[in-house]
């Protein structure tokens, strides 16, 4: 392997790594705010990719009906939980039925008219992102005080349900999305495809937006506060469930955007999301599930390890990636248990 091949592999790894970084960020966010290990994040990625490809081909993606179903279920769940207080009905109806009420008719109208790639991408994100807060209302908010293990089992069940539904609505065939750009840029020995540039720009912009949101706005600070000390946050009036919903909404948006970005890179099947999500997990765990910068660096490393090992021993590429996390975990556990955050 000479230097130019290594460079190409690193470049490839940084493209996938950027996607893993986005997923790792969203998983850390959801975990710190709600203690949920959001396993179905990978499914949202795959669903967004498939929705985008279907739209770009001029067909109506069945995922809009999944969104409608999830919205309606979340609405019933929300109304049932609010029956004692009775004053949040409007908010619940708007929050759960609002997204499908906009997305479903818009998609039915636009899809046969062959929307452009940009519109398809926006619609795909608008279809898939609101699924995450709906899943939160249905499966996780009612378990808010359960143990991490219970929440993990709930997350695994949600994933199985999502994969099954994915097979029904998208079928067993894979699709590859159309790239935003078919340009190529030559830099020394490297030929960088336009899609890679797109991925880097969008990833960087999203991270910048998140940094500003968490560092500068009161709502962003409130989310961080909930992550640092849940009871302390409740005692200043930050609703734990609202914070959880916001975390899931952000995670859903990040997952959906990642899906649209990744669609043109590889053939996506209804169950492809698991491996993509799992690599985001490896990065998030390597970062200790608390640190954002650590998770991003780990995600880029995962991407590079993956592309280098797929060159050397492509049959073992997943094994190598998932084995690589073991020494990291070992070192982390030797360095001491993660702090409890409460004093």
């Amino acid at each position: 392997m000479d230097a130019s091949i290594l460079l190409i592999l690193v470049q490839d790894g940084l493209v996938n790594g950027a996607i893993y970084a986005l997923l790792a960020l969203s998983l850390v966010l959801v975990f710190t705010v709600t203690r949920v290990l959001f396993i179905p994040q990978g499914e949202l990625v795959a669903f967004a990719a498939l929705t985008y490809s279907t739209l770009a081909e001029g067909h109506v993606p069945a995922s809009i009906f999944l969104l409608a179903g999830l919205g309606a279920t979340a609405c019933l769940r929300g109304l049932w939980d609010a029956r004692a207080t009775r004053n949040k009905y409007g908010k619940i109806l708007f929050g759960t039925l609002g997204p499908p009420a906009v997305v479903v008719p818009l998609t039915l109208w636009l899809a046969p008219r062959h929307p452009g790639l940009a519109v398809s991408a926006l619609l795909a994100v608008a279809t898939v992102a609101p699924m995450a807060p709906a899943l939160y209302r249905i499966a996780f908010a009612p378990l808010a005080s359960a143990s991490i293990l219970t929440l993990l089992i709930a997350a695994v069940s949600v994933r199985f349900a999502m994969v099954g539904i994915g097979l029904v609505i998208f079928g067993p065939e894979g699709t590859r999305g159309i790239g935003f750009s078919d340009a190529f840029f030559t830099v020394g020995p490297l030929t960088i495809p336009g899609q890679a540039i797109w991925i880097w720009i969008v990833t960087f912009a999203l991270m910048l937006a998140l940094a500003i949101f968490f560092g500068r706005t009161l709502i962003g600070r409130a989310l961080r506060a909930t992550a640092i000390n849940r009871l302390g946050a409740q005692l200043v009036g930050i609703p734990a469930e609202g914070a959880g919903r916001l975390a899931f909404t952000l995670a859903g948006a990040i997952g959906a955007i990642s899906g649209v970005l990744v669609a043109p890179l590889t053939t996506i099947y209804y169950d492809t999301g698991f491996l993509i999500g799992l690599k985001g997990f490896v990065a998030a765990i390597a970062g200790g599930l608390v640190g954002y910068p650590a998770a991003v660096i780990a995600a880029l490393a995962v991407g590079i390890v993956e592309s280098v090992s797929s060159f050397w021993a492509s049959a073992y590429k997943e094994v190598i990636v998932f084995t690589a996390v073991l020494p990291v975990l070992l070192v982390r556990s030797l360095l001491g248990p993660p702090s409890e955050h409460d004093e």
């Binding site: 004692a84 207080t85 009161l218 600070r221 409130a222 961080r224 506060a225 640092i228 000390n229 009871l231 302390g232 946050a233 409740q234 005692l235 200043v236 009036g237 930050i238 609703p239 955050h341 409460d342 004093e343």
Partner: protein, 251 residues
């Protein structure tokens, strides 16, 4: 009557932690709950704040708040400074205070900044540590920040859980002086303390909580022989009244 609890009971898995508690706090007054470790003082405050489920009546400003969740009680004007402080340790002192005003967020950041200046006037050490992370503060500063964060929400009822815990006597004296100044602004204060001497010195009314029940209450508990014997001790009881508290050798 601003804040009233009647027949309040809390149990953990069938075992009663506090039983049939009745107490009240008037606006602009300090009610103290004293008692030994494990008597159920923290449980009582957590139930009053909605952190723990309870049975009985809890009324604030004439309306029942028993079914409200924590956030709604905060919005109604109740703040709790918990025993563990529960600060946002990896955020700055200023951010902790900003979040204290979360319930008033619609008033805008200028109002929050003014409120923060008032907190800095009350607790000058916090101003010097403004940009420091809350986790790096000393014990006394943490308690100041916890109180400052609660006051940022402009509560009508402030509940303090063991504010003297782990603090040097001189700092306790300063903190309690601030608590009695707060009373003058019309805030009702429910003070839970193991440090009976310090609590009774500023309280207008006091309750004694022992093994989950209120065993004694009144306005002049500091002179009650049962209290003097059990919680204040013979020797130190002389320093009650007008005499200044004993000076610590080193703060």
């Amino acid at each position: 009557m601003m804040f009233r609890v009647a027949g309040l009971s809390v149990s953990y898995g069938g075992v009663a932690a506090v039983q049939d508690i009745s107490l009240h706090v008037e606006a602009g007054s300090i009610a103290a709950v004293i008692g030994p470790n494990g008597a159920g003082k923290t449980t009582l405050l957590n139930a009053a704040m909605g952190v723990l489920p309870s049975t009985g009546t809890i009324e604030f400003d004439g309306t029942s708040i028993h079914a409200m969740d924590i956030e709604t009680r905060v919005a109604a004007g109740i703040s709790l400074v918990p025993e563990l402080r529960n600060l946002f340790s990896t955020m700055s002192v200023a951010d902790n205070l900003r979040l204290g005003a979360y319930r008033l967020r619609r008033e805008g950041s200028a109002a929050a900044a003014r409120a923060m200046d008032e907190i800095f006037e009350t607790f000058p050490p916090l101003q010097r540590r403004k940009e420091q992370l809350a986790g790096t503060l000393s014990g006394g500063e943490r308690q100041m920040l916890a109180m400052g964060r609660a006051l940022m929400a402009r509560p009508k009822l402030l509940m303090l859980d063991e504010p003297s815990l782990g603090l040097a006597p001189l700092i306790v004296r300063d903190l309690f002086a601030i608590v009695s100044q707060l009373r003058a602004t019309g805030v009702g204060i429910l003070l839970v303390e193991q440090n009976a001497r310090a609590a009774l010195r500023i309280a207008d009314y006091a309750y004694v909580l022992e093994t989950g029940r209120i065993t004694l209450e009144g306005t002049d508990l500091a002179d009650d022989p049962r209290i003097v014997e059990k919680y204040l001790g013979q020797k130190e009881s002389k320093s009650l009244g007008g005499a200044p508290p004993p000076k610590p050798r080193h703060p």
